[in-house]
């Protein structure tokens, strides 16, 4: 067989593999990709992951199909004798087209990622000066929630509800939430998995992440940045609930924590308490 025949075989096998795998990836694996469709941003990430996987699949298949074919077709059939292959040192057109194709893919991915990121921030922490601010669902306003991380727990403060600080998190459905994530001691990371939110908590920094909740949902919060001995125990769960239920819950929290709220420092973007311990 000459080179052209080999090339044709590889191309055919690759096409067949793509016809099978790409639909499988997009329609079967895609909907199951993380982090699920618990919020608008999370659903957006599922779409992004699907697109990335759909683009990556033909690339991976090209390498795998070629390798499998080459190892079979170009294997030494008589290993007892040392025979050299043809001294092919390169091929300008193959190199050119490889460069063109990979560059196109990379620019597409970077462009797509940028567009998606700038659309709604994708639930990622954007620092104190966010540039991608989603608009709240019609007829609603943004709900600011401060996430205060410390060794080794998260607490939540609601500036629009008298600055009450709660130990668990409930959020109203169909609302744009503005998480203001900060830390009292070391770097933590606020990861609300099902909401598709991750933002590092740095001491002295207000790291803002947006998420638009959808229907009722239980979500899990874990610390995603190593923060000391009990990092593994720094988790929590929260719920997205109907608006009326949220209103009742926050009112109840305000009453319950009223004595504590009076002794708290006034609401601020960052706090610098004197450390009580050197926990390590």
């Amino acid at each position: 067989m000459d080179g052209k025949a080999h090339f044709r075989n590889v191309a055919l096998l690759w096409l067949v593999a793509n016809v099978i795998m790409v639909p499988l990836v997009v329609f079967v694996f895609g909907p199951g990709l993380p982090p699920g469709k618990g919020s608008v941003e999370a659903a957006g990430q599922v779409t992004d992951n699907t697109v990335l996987l759909a683009v990556a699949t033909p690339v991976a298949l090209a390498v795998l199909v070629y390798m499998a074919y080459a190892l079979w077709a170009f294997r030494e059939r008589n290993p007892e004798v040392i025979v050299d292959g043809p001294p092919i040192r390169g091929d300008a057109s193959v190199q050119f087209w490889w460069l063109v194709v990979t560059t196109t893919l990379v620019l597409f991915l970077a462009g797509y990622g940028t567009v998606r990121l700038l659309a709604d921030g994708s639930g990622a922490g954007q620092g104190p000066n966010p540039i991608a601010i989603p608009s709240p669902p019609k007829g609603t306003t943004v709900l600011p929630v401060q996430v205060i991380a410390q060794q080794w727990e998260f607490t939540y403060r609601f500036p629009t509800y008298g600055g009450v600080e709660t130990s668990n998190l409930e959020l109203p459905e169909n609302t744009l939430i503005e998480f203001n994530v900060t830390s009292l001691d070391v770097i933590h990371s606020f990861w609300a998995y099902e909401l598709g939110v991750k933002a590092d908590a740095n001491p002295g920094v207000n790291n803002i992440a947006y998420v638009t909740t959808k229907g009722p949902l239980t979500f899990h919060v874990r610390c995603a940045e190593l923060c000391g001995v009990w990092h593994g125990y720094m988790f929590n769960s929260g719920e997205v609930v109907p608006r009326a239920q949220f209103a009742a819950w926050i009112t109840q929290q305000r009453v319950q924590y009223a004595p504590a709220t009076r002794t708290l420092p006034p609401y601020s973007k960052t706090y610098f308490p004197q450390p009580l311990r050197r926990g390590g």
Binding site: A56, L64, M67, G90, V106, G113, I187, S189, L226, H231
Partner: protein, 636 residues
């Protein structure tokens, strides 16, 4: 002995050798240095501690730092590194001591030797030991993760294990991977008898070992809880064990900087006649790229650690936000080193694989210039991507698209390497030897490492994968699946020339297949675990993830067993069934295989003159003007 003052008197023999400058003396001087620094000086310095956090009673970071510093100095002086400068200061003429480079026998491996082949073998054993210790740490980590709750180790022990595993693998094993190969091969490949700075070559090895001992001492000081990244201000808060982290990585950083400096100088200035840039073996190009990265990136690590050390000892507050510092500063400095670092771990693997591939495909390297461009492109771009480690940290939001683009651009030069790999196989005559199997596995594993990297580099996707087991799986696929597989390819390939014996092929194949299958069985499920929400470095996890974790742990044990197969192979082939290696068992056309086995003390009788082609496969078999031979089977 390794002293410079050898012009008079016969060398010591027998047990009296131990009295000179050697490793034993180094250890004694090192321990003495520790006590001088720690007890005699450090404990008398008061007022030590942090500007902000109160230290534990009895913890004196200044004393510990001084102990480490003088301990390292003592160790190096005991090895004989002080002799040359002292003698120069006393007015003696400069000379390369004969004994440093011409000592024979086993004893020279325990002394300051400036023979590049000896240093390479020292490196091989040195990093090998820590590779296995680091691997044992991984086994212990996986044992703890058999259950969702703490059941074997406490949280602190667990985190210390995680940190030591990461530090040993990143700092000693993989950063030192050029130690055995580049030190041994670069002079032989470019046709010189030594490295540009032979004493610095030896210095980098012994400094790395001194640092490694410092890392081990962390267990006497409560361990460190920061992982190998050592983020601040957590590090400032940490117990005295974090001082060991600082001392360790400072040694590693200095060792890497000097190593890179030495390699660059050697490759640029010491090539033999005829060895022009376009004739350099591809492994040397990879080494050059790595060396530039080491030279430029590692000083940033040293700077960051110096600042961290000052925070802990003399009450500065570079990284303590409450006292005016910044928690971002350390992250930025660390990853400005840390991201080039991961390419320091990738490029040698590329070099080894592309160097071996022509031998076993029996073809010239396909796209030599493209491969060089790929390696240099990776080296260049790797300095512009570090903030992708900080995508969700609250960094300047406008910068993220840039770092997303620059990170994804790195897949272009990496793609060149893959194209050269695939092109070299094209119409070759592929021989499935053990080194070749490891090279092929490199391509398979690194492919998944690269594909998963696309998810990490895309900010929306990274929101979920960042800091999760997905990232962990990604970098194990690139570093273990890439570099370590290439490392074993290199071992199986070059051991016959380096050590003069063949490794058993059947045991090698058992090793390969168990390692390859167990590796994928261990790390592929970690992608899923990360996608399902398991963060890194946790001692507890959600109960529904237990089944997968148990699967991973069992696979990890099998992976550990495959390493025992390798060790058994070494012992078997060395001690029980020793076959002296042929001069050129692989029928390679590279220059190092044209030398006798074992390679003579000064490598070449005369400096070779290189012919134009580093990979002359298939050239002499094709008669001029005739088409390529097409034997039966359609392989040509």
């Amino acid at each position: 002995m390794s002293t410079i003052a050898v012009s008079s008197g016969a060398p010591r023999t027998g047990w009296r050798k131990l009295l000179g400058f050697n490793m034993l003396t180094g250890i004694i001087f090192g321990v003495a240095g520790w006590f001088i620094g720690y007890s005699a000086i450090g404990l008398h310095i008061h007022g030590a501690g942090l500007a902000y956090y109160s230290t534990e009673a009895g913890q004196n970071d200044i004393a510990i730092m001084l102990g480490y510093l003088l301990g390292v100095v003592g160790f190096l002086v005991g090895l004989g590194f002080g002799n040359y400068p002292f003698r120069r200061m006393l007015g003696h003429p400069p000379s390369l001591a004969e004994h440093e480079s011409e000592e024979e026998g086993l004893f020279r491996y325990f002394t300051l030797s400036t023979d590049h082949k000896v240093v390479a073998k020292q490196y091989m054993i040195g990093i090998g030991v820590f590779f296995f210790v680091g691997g044992l740490n991984a086994m212990l980590i996986r044992t703890e993760l058999l259950q969702p709750n703490v059941h074997v180790f406490g949280a602190n022990q667990y985190l210390t294990l995680v940190g030591m595993h990461g530090s040993m693998m990143m700092g000693i094993m993989t950063s030192g991977i050029l130690g055995p190969f580049a030190n041994w091969l670069v002079p032989l490949m470019i046709g010189t008898r030594r490295m540009a700075f032979p004493r610095i070559e030896a210095f980098t090895f012994w400094l790395l070992m001194a640092g490694s001992v410092i890392l081990i001492t962390t267990i006497f000081f409560g361990g460190f809880q920061t992982g190998w990244t050592g983020y601040q201000p957590l590090g400032s808060q940490g117990t005295a064990g974090y001082d060991a982290y600082i001392g360790f990585f400072a040694c590693v950083g200095l060792s890497m900087t000097l190593f890179g400096f030495n390699l660059v100088a050697t490759i640029v200035t010491m090539r033999a006649p005829g060895m022009t840039w376009s004739r350099l073996p591809i492994f040397v190009w990879a080494t050059l790229g790595t060396a530039v990265l080491m030279l430029l990136a590692a000083p940033m690590l040293i700077a960051a650690l110096l600042m961290a050390a000052m925070d802990r000892t003399v009450q500065t507050a570079f990284f303590i936000p409450a006292a005016g510092g910044s928690s971002y500063l350390f992250q930025n400095m660390f990853w400005f080193f840390g991201h080039p670092e991961v390419y320091i771990l990738a490029l040698p693997g590329f070099g080894i694989v592309l160097e071996l591939l022509p031998v076993f495909a029996r073809k010239p390297l396909w796209g030599y210039r493209l491969a060089v461009a790929g390696m240099l492109g990776i080296a260049f771009l790797s300095f512009f991507v570090w903030q992708h480690h900080l995508f969700v940290s609250g960094m300047n939001a406008d910068l993220r698209p840039f770092y997303m683009l620059s990170t994804e651009l790195i897949s272009l030069p990496t793609g060149f390497i893959f194209l050269c790999f695939m092109g070299t196989l094209w119409r070759g005559r592929i021989r499935f030897t053990v080194p070749m199997l490891f090279c092929l596995a490199w391509a398979f594993n690194f492919l998944w490492g690269g594909i998963s990297g696309v998810f990490n580099s895309d900010v929306p996707s990274d929101t979920t994968t960042h800091g999760s087991f997905f990232v962990m799986a990604h970098f194990h696929y690139t570093i273990m699946g890439g570099l370590v597989f290439a490392f074993f390819a290199g071992i199986y390939y070059w051991v016959p020339k380096m050590y003069g014996f063949n490794l058993n092929e059947r045991l090698g194949k058992i090793h390969f297949w168990t390692m390859f299958i167990a590796f994928n069985s261990t790390f592929a499920p970690l992608f899923a675990l990360g996608f399902m929400g398991m963060p890194r470095r946790v001692v507890t996890y959600a109960a529904n993830l237990q089944a997968l974790n148990v699967w991973v742990s069992i696979s990890a044990y099998v992976l550990g067993l495959s390493m025992l197969v390798f060790l058994f192979n070494v012992v078997w082939s060395l001690a029980f069934k020793r076959e002296p290696a042929a001069v050129n068992p692989w029928h390679s056309k590279s220059s190092e295989w044209q030398l006798p086995t074992p390679v003579p003390l000064h490598d070449f009788d005369r400096i070779p003159v290189f012919d134009p082609d580093p990979y002359p496969y298939g050239v002499d078999q094709v008669p001029a003007g005739a088409p390529a031979a097409a034997p039966a089977g359609g392989a040509a």
